[in-house]
């Protein structure tokens, strides 16, 4: 959509009124935004609750023309798409939400409306388990052709964006919704990721260029994540995690929320577990079947994805790891590897524990573990602890 053909009054009203619902209400009452602008004094008189003094001040501080001109520079320079709620380009799912923002700034390419979008949210301060689960779901969703939506924050959001960029073959790999103006990569640390997402997906924000993130912008951002997602996955949320705001919003929009359960003792899973306990969220289907079950309504039997990911590499050209995990040992692994596999099935083990359980020398153990790691059967975590790949 051409920037010049935008209704400048709508842009002005949409950006100055932070509540999209009230904006829609005013436009509904007065026919269009221009009328609101022209009769601002009478609007103010009749809608004191909407046009409060501060809102009035900000409405009067800049005319629609001036605002339009002010934004033009960054819009042109950064190739920002400005999409009004009335436009056809506005994401269909988001439009269905009555409080979705009236203006959306987009850099990159939004997914088509027929592509399934899955929001994946979680804590900034994640555990290695949370990261691994997130990576696995993002990977699987992208491989099936879905698109992930996240917030580009540190932690789980970063994992989502990175895994999606790595796994996806879509023209839009992932959507990142910012809590700041579209031109400001937030947080700084993810600036590089911000540009990769623009390149291969879309960065979205409801805030005009130049706006800095505050503690109030993030909850608004979270609602947009919920609104753009067909279903939402909470992979790891502590008691007061922002991911819970996203989950509540998704529930309000009648979207399904899936939750990864954590151990009861883990504080970083307190929020997730509470969601499950209160039946607000559903227990998540396993990685392999998630997409099929949720979007295709059927369960598969073949683990095609994992065959692809776990190509065993070795000098003897071992056969591919088969779908049935139980059979894997018979085909792909030698005796020691099988023992390691079985030991890890009981739970994660450190290198030392493996050495004490399985009677092979340290150099041999190193060899076996490296081979299994390269084959994608096991993963190594901080503390030199090994576990089976999800």
């Amino acid at each position: 959509m051409n920037y010049d053909s935008i209704d400048i009054y709508e842009l002005w009203l949409g950006l100055k009124l932070s509540s999209a619902r009230r904006c829609t209400q005013l436009i509904g009452e007065y026919g269009n935004a221009k009328t609101v602008f022209e009769n601002i004094e009478s609007v103010r008189a009749s809608h004191r609750n909407i046009i409060t003094d501060t809102v009035y001040d900000s409405l009067c501080s800049e005319t629609p023309e001036a605002l339009h001109e002010r934004l033009r520079r960054s819009v042109v320079k950064l190739k920002i798409d400005v999409i009004m709620k009335s436009h056809a380009e506005y994401p269909k799912l988001l439009k269905q939400c009555d409080d979705s923002p009236s203006v959306l700034f987009v850099r990159g390419r939004l997914p088509k409306d027929d592509v399934h979008t899955v929001g994946i949210v979680g804590t900034r301060n994640y555990s290695s388990y949370g990261a691994e689960v997130t990576d696995a779901y993002a990977h699987s969703i992208c491989k099936y052709g879905g698109v992930t939506v996240s917030g580009l924050a540190m932690g789980i959001d970063t994992v989502v964006a990175k895994s999606s960029l790595r796994a996806s073959d879509n023209e839009c790999a992932t959507v990142a919704v910012l809590g700041s103006g579209i031109d400001i990569p937030t947080p700084d640390d993810n600036a590089k990721l911000y540009y990769s997402v623009i390149e291969r997906g879309a960065v979205v924000s409801q805030f005009a260029p130049g706006v800095h993130a505050t503690r109030y912008t993030y909850p608004m951002r979270n609602k947009v994540i919920a609104g753009m997602s067909e279903v939402l996955i909470v992979t790891e949320a502590g008691e007061r995690s922002g991911a819970l705001i996203t989950a509540r919003a998704a529930i309000n929009y009648n979207r399904k929320v899936y939750c990864v359960p954590g151990r009861m003792v883990d504080a970083s899973y307190a929020g997730s577990n509470a969601l499950l306990q209160n039946r607000e969220a559903e227990h998540i289907p396993d990685v392999e079947n998630f997409y099929r079950k949720v979007f295709l309504g059927k369960e598969g039997t073949q683990n095609t994805l994992f065959d692809e990911r776990r190509t065993v590499i070795s000098s003897e050209n071992k056969p591919k790891v088969s779908a049935e995990k139980e059979q894997m040992s018979k085909t792909g692994l030698d005796e020691a590897e099988e023992k390691i596999y079985n030991a890890l099935k009981q739970g994660e083990k450190s290198f030392e524990e493996l050495c004490s359980i399985i009677d092979i020398s340290a150099p041999q153990m190193n060899l076996k573990l490296t081979m299994m790691e390269l084959s994608g059967i096991i993963v190594q975590m901080p503390g030199r602890i090994y576990k089976l790949h999800i």
Binding site: I313, S315, F351, P363, L374, G383, I385
Partner: protein, 510 residues
């Protein structure tokens, strides 16, 4: 009257001859020292006067001028006391012959005339010997240091009186008997590997690190035994050769760091400076350009505990000596080059609270705290460390287990054979261990089997290895293959070497 005495000076660990000229002439009683003396040399006046008086000689109340030649070199320390006193005795004809001129004389004097030990005797004697001197008069306590040198006569002295009597042919002094180089090998050191329970992986890594002289980084939770492992490492290092021992002793002698006056250093040094150490204390420096910890750790281990707590500039200062094996320090007082060929062992916690990755204690740090903590170690520094190991708490059952753990001596045997293979391979190149290989040598000496080649290719594409990381990986694989006695590098060697890289990927990757 005029007298001349020979002595020696030290700059860094290089000596230079010093001629002490004493002139006693009529005039107002005075005493003056020229020839760039430092405060310690200038103060010798008081010691010399009292010592002469208290040894039963007469001090001349006349005009005494001492010149330390060459006059343009700075003279430091108290080592000229004895020589100056003898010069005055000769100038006043209390010494009856010029016999002293065939000796190089070193030693500090006490007020009662006792001779005290001085620093840097070994490097000075070696240098003087190369200048053609073979007779030395040294403090008793220092004589052991040079007792292993062939072709010199060392006369240990205890007092000024004894020295004067010796030079006047009144009493003879037995020259120091030549000692033969022996090393008490075997036996049980208090840091033996058999005392470490569990930690199989880390012990194996230490063995490889020592075998190829690779630097090592230990990452682990508090109490996982990082320090204990590091302290045990000298016990599995190859035995010192005489040449190495002399080189180490030279540095320690010059720095005054010899633990006992017991002759040569016979154990590999283990230095563990505190993390508040300044750059000069670590690499050497100060007004006199004295050797730092890295030089004192020459041919031994430099252990840096709490690695990220060291100041950034201190760590960065170590980068060049880590590459070159020596350091040149320039100060106003002069320039000195010290060898610094050491094995760096660094230990650190994985995060500020220390428990990141622990199985038992949850970590209380946020991601950004951990990141910030890890980033205190620069990339170039990490690049100079070949082997990275993680250590975790030892389980109680392992601590209590009576299982037999291998002793340092039996590990050392394997290391000796791996080192021997390296020595034969690198003969005549000046390189003695795999860690020092140049890129050219990597190409010549690291032949991989085709399977190993395949594996490395695989890893390359999966882990985005840089060329430098690849070279380091090759060096470690070479060492592992040497320990197996294999000429060609096999896939299991590569696989194991990869384990020692995984820490970088896990903590510093992405």
């Amino acid at each position: 009257m005029f007298a001349k005495v020979r002595s020696h000076g030290l700059r860094g660990i290089e000596g230079f001859p010093v001629n002490i000229e004493v002139d006693v002439s009529h005039g107002m009683p005075m005493y003056s020292t020229v020839g760039l003396p430092d405060a310690a040399v200038r103060e010798s006046r008081e010691r010399v006067q009292s010592a002469i008086k208290n040894s039963g000689f007469a001090y001349p109340y006349e005009r005494v001028v001492i010149n330390l030649a060459p006059a343009d070199m700075r003279k430091e320390g108290s080592l000229y006391d004895l020589a100056i006193a003898l010069g005055i005795l000769r100038a006043t004809e209390q010494l009856r012959s010029d016999r002293h001129e065939s000796f190089v004389i070193l030693g500090e004097l006490a007020l009662d005339g006792t001779v005290r030990p001085v620093n840097g005797v070994l490097p000075m004697v070696i240098d003087a010997y190369q200048c053609g001197v073979s007779n030395f008069i040294l403090p008793q306590e220092n004589a052991n240091e040079v007792a292993y040198m062939e072709g010199i006569n060392v006369y240990p002295v205890g007092s000024l009186k004894q020295t004067a009597d010796f030079l006047n042919d009144r009493k003879d002094i037995e020259p120091m008997p030549l000692r033969h180089w022996t090393l008490e090998t075997g036996g049980f050191s208090k840091n033996d590997f058999s005392l470490i329970h569990g930690q199989t992986g880390a012990k194996r890594a230490a063995e490889i690190a020592v075998a190829g002289s690779h630097n090592m980084l230990l990452v682990g939770t508090p109490g996982s035994g990082k320090t204990m492992l590091a302290k045990s490492i000298p016990s599995i290092m190859p035995d010192l050769t005489k040449q190495e021992s002399i080189e180490i002793t030279k540095i320690h002698s010059a720095a005054g760091a010899l633990k006992s006056w017991d002759g040569l250093v016979k154990e590999r040094p283990f230095r563990s400076p505190h993390h508040t150490a300044s750059a000069p204390s670590l690499v050497g420096g100060g007004t006199k350009a004295v050797p730092g910890e890295i030089s004192l750790a020459h041919y031994g281990v430099l252990f840096l505990d709490e690695f990220p707590e060291f100041k950034r500039d201190v760590l960065e200062a170590m980068r060049q000596p880590l590459e070159d094996g020596e350091i040149t320090i320039s100060r106003a007082a002069g320039k000195a080059t010290y060898p610094a060929d050491f094995m760096l062992i660094a230990a650190m916690n994985p995060c500020p609270c220390g428990n990141y990755g622990s199985k038992h204690t949850p970590c209380r740090c946020t991601r950004s705290e951990i990141k910030k903590y890890l980033q205190r170690i620069s990339g170039p520094m990490l690049d100079r460390i070949d082997i990275h190991v993680e250590m975790n708490e030892v389980e109680f059952s392992e601590l209590r287990s009576k299982a037999h753990e291998e002793s340092s001596d039996s590990i050392k045997k394997r290391i000796n054979s791996a080192r021997y293979a390296q020595l034969t391979r690198f003969e005549g190149t000046g390189v003695y261990a795999n860690a020092q290989m140049t890129n050219e040598m990597l190409r010549d000496f690291c032949t991989l089997t085709s399977e190993a080649e395949k594996l490395i290719e695989m890893v390359f594409s999966r882990q985005n290895l840089s060329a430098r990381a690849y070279n380091r990986l090759l060096k470690v694989t070479r060492t592992i293959a040497d320990m197996d006695g294999e000429e060609k590098i096999r896939p299991e060697h590569v696989a194991e070497a990869l384990q020692y890289r995984s820490v970088i990927n896990k903590y510093w990757g992405e």
